[in-house]
Every structure is written in C-alpha cells, then in structure tokens.
Symmetry: C2
Subunit: 460 residues, 2 copies
C-alpha cells in the first residue's frame, strides 16, 4: 500500500496570523510551507521601540526558521508572493536573486498583512515615512536622531528650530507611542549630550483627524493620554488634517477655532501613523472570488475566514474585514489559531467547526516614560500600573525566553540606572543619503491593482 | 581681565584612537571637538559577531555623544572630513544634508582608521565584500544567511552546492574568526532549521597568501588554530592567492603541490579579509607635510605621533606607521592616551614627554565554538581557557556596563541553553537587492588621491 501524500498547506505571511496558523497545525497530518518576504516574524507592537533606539531589532524579529525549527511538518521559505492561481491551486512567488517559485497547495492560508497608506497622496511617502517593517523603524530612528545632529550643526536659529520640530500624523496607538518616544528623547535622554542645542526646546506636535487621541479607547483613558502627553510638552491638534507637505514643512487644516483655517508649520521631520491599507493580495483575492473589499482594501471573508466559493482558501489578519475587528495583533493571532483548527478538524472528518469568535483581550498603549493606558482584564488602568501590565503582556507574547529575558534586561537598564538608549545608530550611509532629505518609501511597494487606502483621516 | 579662550583640539575619528585621545583630555583646560562620519564608537574586535548574528550592533556601537556625555569639555559632531588646511589650521567637513562645516583648531588629532583594500583589484569589492563598518557587517550577515535560503530554494544540485560553498580570503584574526562563525552556523546553528538542505554539507574554504594562519601569532597557536578549523570542516589553502573572481566563482593560484597551478571554485559567497589600506587622510597629510607613506598608505609619524614640521598635528591608529605596530585596537588606544598626555603636558608647560612606547598586551582570536587562542599575560593558551580569557578581555574593553552585561547575557544564552543566533535579519530590501548578487562596496568610498593598498597578499 502506498503511503498517502500529506495534505499540503501553504501559508502566505509569517506575521501573527500566518505564524499562529502554522503552529496550530503542528499536530495535524499536513505539510505546511510558510512563505514570507523577510526571514523573520516581526513583533509589530514593539516596533516603535526599535525606532526609538530602545530595543535592537533582533529581540522582536526572531528568524521564522528558528521559531518553527521543532515543528517537523512545517518549513519556511524566503520569497515574495507574486500571484495566486486559485484554479490550479498554486502560489507563485519570487525568492532572492529573482528565483521563481511555484508552490502547489491543497489548502491555502493568506495572511499578507497591511502597510501604511497616504489617502491617495502617495507623494507624501517621500516626506512622512511610516513604520511597518524593521527597515522602516531603522530609517525612522536614523531620521529622528539625525534631526538633533543637524540642530547641533545649524548656525541659523530659524533652521535650528525647524530641525527641532517634529510632527507625528495620527494619534492611534502607534502615533501616541511614537510621539511619547520623541518627547522622551528630547526631554530625558538627549539633553546632556548636546552642547550648542537645548533639546528640551524641541517642538513636538501630534495631529489627529478625529476628536480624541487613541480613537477606540475608553474616553477616560483618552483624556488621561492627552493630559500626559501635554504634560510632556506635546502639542495636540485634534480634528486636524494634513493637507500638504514638502521637505521642510507640513500644512494642517483645522485643529483650531476655525475648522477651515490652515496653518503651515516649518519642520524637517514628519512621521506618518495615520492610515493603513491591506496587502495587495486582498484585492487580488477579491477580484478573483467576487468577494468585496472595504475602504482599506481589506477583503470580506466568510464567518469561517474562507473566501466565497473557495472553502480551501482562508484569509486572516490585517488584510481581511471580519466583524469590524481592529487591525491589531489579537484578531490575527486568534484567526490564525482558528484556521489551524478548522483545517485539522476537516482532515479528521469532524465536520466544520463553529464560525470564528473573537475573544477581546483589551487594548493598551504606552504614553511616554513609565506610563501606559490599559483597558484589559475588565480594568481600565493608567500610569505605572498600566505600564507594568503593558510590559508583562508584551513580554509574554514575545517569542522565545531568550528574547523575553533580553527585552526585560534592556527595559530594566533603561528604566532604572540609565536613561540612555542603547541602540541608536546612524551609519555612514544613513548620514549621507536617506537620513534627512526626502526619502523613498522604505516598505515594499504595493503591487499593481492595489485598492484605495482606508480613510482613517476623512478626506481633506 | 578677559577670560582666556580655551585651547581648541579637534579630533578626527571616534574610533579607538580618537575616543581615547578625547577622554584623556578630560582634565585639561581645552575644548575638544571629535568629528566622526557616523554617530557611534565602533568596537571593531566584535564586529564579526554582528556579521554572524550573535550580537546586535548597538551593544558594540554606543553613540559617541552618550560616551562623552559627562566630559563637559568635549563635544561630538556628525560629519565627514573633506579637507585639512594645515596653514590656516582648519578642518573642513560635510555633515548630513551636505552641511559644510569649518572647524578651527590649535591642536589637531587625526585618527581616520583604515578600510579594506583589494590589491589594485577594486572590481573585487563587488564580489567579495569586506567588513569594517556596521553596514558591512549587516550586509555580510544578510549575504551569508541568504546563501542558505537560496540553497533551500535551489532545485539543481550543482547550483545548491554553489550556494553552500563559502570562501573567506585572508587568514588573519578577522578571517579566522569569520570562517569559524560560518562553520558554526553550518554545523551547529542551522542544521535542524532546513528541510531540503543539509547545511552540514557546506564547503567552507579559507584562503591565505602566507604559509600559516594567524600570521603574527606563535607557531604553536597557529598549528592549534589550523587543526581546530580543519576539525570543524574548514578547508585551508595556504600559500594561495586569489587571482580572479566573479559573481559565481573565485580563482585561486597555488595552495597545492604546484605553486603556479590555478583552480576555479564555484561559489556564491566570497568574503574579503585579506588587506587593509589607511584612510585617505593619511595620504593627504603625507602630501602636505612631506611625510612618507608605506605600502598600506599609512603615514610615517614622528616618535611622538606628530607630523614633520607640524608639532600641532598628531596622527594615530590604523592610518599611521610607527614602530611596525599592528593595525589592531591596542596601539590606537595607547597612542590616543599618549597624545592626550602630550597635549596636556605642553599646555601645562611641562615640556615634551618621552616618545610613545607601546606596551604589548598580546593578541587573541576565537576559533569557532567555545575555542580561542590567546597569547597574553605571558601565557600561550588555547581551547576554552583561551576562550574565557578572550571573552573577559573583550567584555572589559567594551564601553558601558550596560553593554558589558548585555553582551555577557547574549553570549551566555548562545553558549548554554540555545545555539540559536538571536540577531539574524534578512529584510525585504536585502532579500530583493543586495543580499545575493554582486554588491556595491558598503564602506565609504575612498577619497581622491588614495594611496595604493598594502600587499598583505603578495602580488599574484
């Protein structure tokens, strides 16, 4: 009797969704291939700490191979998916050195994630970098630190002020955490390191299209966050939109008594944290299955995360729209695990499990030095208690005890004896090219046929 | 009575020489400005551990500002020196954003270091990257790891073998430490992570122009090193020269019974550790002071590290030739401290101190997993005792207790419970551009008027 070929599962993307789908298939009689265009699983919620020079990238981006090393029915491949043939059930991808790759599947899990979006203003990518990849974070780090270096070199006070002005667009968790870090750098870390410049004179603005910071959080936590940030010297502009920008300025509409008034602020650093847009794979799947997409280009999936007419194709995470879940780690993690169970259950002939149900584990965000807001475990907490809760949860979800201990060590070092930031490199290449002037977008360029981005910021 | 302007010292370069000169001037009545084209002090002896994915760059590259934060008479500037005007006593430099900078000095300390050199074969830079900067090390890391990824993707066994062949050119300490790391990756770290490929089948070659590995070391330690490397599966070719290379091969002359015979080895990874060449500032100073340069482009300085006819200009470290000292950290450190003392002594009117005298503190190199050779403290030791000694000395010379503890933690994690490498990123950009094909040189391009490189490898 011939041995039966195991059921082939291809997982596109090694983020929260893809990795959890892969891991939950460990006991199943399947062959799993997870394809990612980098070699690592990125723990996105701590990426802003790389941009701030706190954590080294390695602690939050373990190699996918090492993570699934012991799962003998899984393997990882480094390649960028270029096409999905739903009829022939094959994934086409391109590896390094333009190596074409052709992966047949019996079941497909698509977890392509999302990237930042500029509301149809793609030219802003040049002036306001966002943060989705390790490269993005390294670039932001170099950009922010170089601005202080340039302020130290500047002889014209007007120019110096421009280098010391930082504008963060978007006051969701990423924007709030980033603005807190810029304030911490300016007020706590850098002051004694500069001789010509007083870094505490830095002007730090947070621009938000909605009427409150941290949109989906409880109003009490929103007010606390706003108060804390203002105490740290952050100017907050609510109901304000970016309507224009160039290499040396940004123009804001609203945010004051007159909602139609515009103001141009001279600044050499603009950081984009305002909008996301699903991976182009979402639009591709939608076009080929007749599924709908939402404004953020996310594909609408069935209650069991499959695509219409294709029970063998699952889509999960930031690139899908399901029950209005937010684009954060927990839905992707839970969907990944759910999909693994569905596949296992089907192969065992146990029939179709119940539709996906999301267990809300709450939300958290740091608000500068040793402070955070947390809405979790049925509590709404702030301050250092929130911060401790935030730290414990994030360390717990990191992969590998080595990375957990390393992160605890690095945080302990920064919170107690030294306010230094240990990982703040500006390399020769960065100092001489990308660090200051207009920058090329650092994330992967979206493929053709991309959907219009989500308008978290209403159109100007 | 008007306050006297403090004596202005400009230090070019924040490496071992420049940083130690700066620090030893802390008690003096001077204003020190240290200019570097990156923002960090690089601890070069551990750079190969970044290339091997062991250490994150931040632990061995603390920001210069943070290092001299408490030294109130010193400041750091991020700029690349373009010219030195010895008559007007001014240093011209270029900061980020092409910002011109003009620094007058009373005393100048030039510590511009060295970069790798290709014996007049500059085109080899494209095919055999070297390792002098953090960028170089990140690039090498991505290059080595991507070779294993490509082997996993390859379907043709011949091509797979090419991706699994690694050739390191030069068996000095850098070459020996790097080749040991590649062997460790192939034999200890990666084997269980790949499904199609047996990484222990990797072919790893070390090519050396001289008749022994670790040239300046004791013959007993040389023999031990050769034996250890061979036991780890490294093929060693002594008396062998690289005479040609392209994207997929390298041609070696000698290394066998017939010294004139050539052999072409198919390989996708060549790493250059064979030659160094002084910073172009050495040639510039030589041309303007009438000083001589040696074959490596190093400028010959007076016994007190000054330049002929310019007692106010010191040159130190890898870019100078003095008493045939090797281009490693200790001479640069000691020269930096010496120069600081000379300047302090002159200002105090204490006259000229004695010429620089080098205190040989020995030499050490790791030889793969948990082994090292050390010729220090009057002992010649090998194995894990050598390794412990090596580790203790290197941790001691790192800057900052935070970096020391972080390094000890990272090493302990890798030496005991896990053979994993925590810091081995391949980013999307790296996977899609520079990681595999021919590469542009990653170090700063040498300026015009550069001296011919040193022929550590005799001409072919």
């Amino acid at each position: 009797m011939m041995a039966r070929e195991p059921h082939r599962v291809v997982v596109i993307g090694g983020g929260f969704g893809g990795l959890n789908a892969t891991r939950s298939l460990a006991p199943a009689d399947v062959d799993v291939t997870v394809v990612d265009r980098t070699n690592h699983h990125l723990f996105q919620p701590l990426l802003y700490q790389v941009a701030a020079g706190i954590l080294p990238p390695g602690l939050i981006a373990p190699s996918l191979r090492s993570v699934i090393k012991k799962q003998r029915n899984a393997r990882a491949l480094l390649a960028d998916v270029s096409d999905i043939d739903l009829e022939q059930r094959r994934v086409h991808a391109v590896g390094p050195d333009d190596r074409p790759l052709d992966l047949p599947y019996d079941t497909l899990v698509v977890a392509g994630g999302a990237t930042h979006a500029y509301f149809g203003h793609d030219e802003w990518a040049e002036y306001a970098p966002g943060m989705k990849t390790i490269e993005d974070a390294r670039h932001l780090r170099s950009h922010i630190l170089t601005a202080f270096e340039m302020a130290e070199l500047a002889t014209d006070p007007k120019e110096r002020a421009e280098w010391l002005t930082f504008v963060i667009i978007g006051a969701g968790p990423t924007g709030v955490e980033l603005v807190g870090q810029v304030a911490e750098l300016a007020h706590l870390v850098l002051p004694k390191e500069y001789r010509s410049v007083d870094t505490t004179e830095a002007r730090i603005l947070l621009v938000e299209g909605a009427g409150a910071v941290l949109g989906p959080f409880d109003p009490k936590l929103q007010r606390y966050t706003q108060h804390r940030l203002e105490k740290m010297g952050v100017e907050i502009r609510l109901n304000a939109l970016a309507v224009g920008m160039d290499d040396e300025s940004i123009t804001i509409k609203g945010g004051g008594p007159d909602p139609a008034a515009t103001e141009t602020i001279r600044t050499r650093t603009r950081i984009w944290a305002a909008g996301v847009q699903a991976s182009p794979l979402a639009a591709m799947l939608a076009a080929r299955t007749g599924a709908e997409t939402d404004r953020a280009g996310r594909v609408l999936v069935n209650p069991d995360c499959t695509l219409p007419g294709h029970p063998e194709v699952f889509a999960i995470g930031d690139m899908v729209s399901l029950n209005k879940l937010p684009g954060v780690a927990q839905p992707a993690i839970q969907e990944g695990r759910y999909v693994g169970k569905v596949i296992t259950s089907r192969l065992a002939g146990d029939g179709q499990p119940r539709p996906f149900e999301y267990a809300d584990k709450g939300s958290m965000a740091t608000v500068g030095h040793r402070h955070a807001v947390a809405d979790a475990f049925g509590m709404k907490v702030t301050g250092w208690i929130g911060y401790t809760m935030w730290g414990a949860v994030h360390v717990l979800y990191l992969i590998g005890w080595g990375n957990r201990l390393g992160t605890i060590y690095t945080w302990a070092r920064g919170l107690t004896f030294s306010r230094n930031r240990g990982h703040r490199l500006i390399t020769f290449e960065q100092a001489n090219s990308e660090a200051t002037g207009p920058v090329a977008p650092r994330s992967a360029p979206p493929a053709a046929g991309v959907a219009p981005p989500v308008q978290e910021q209403p159109p100007a």
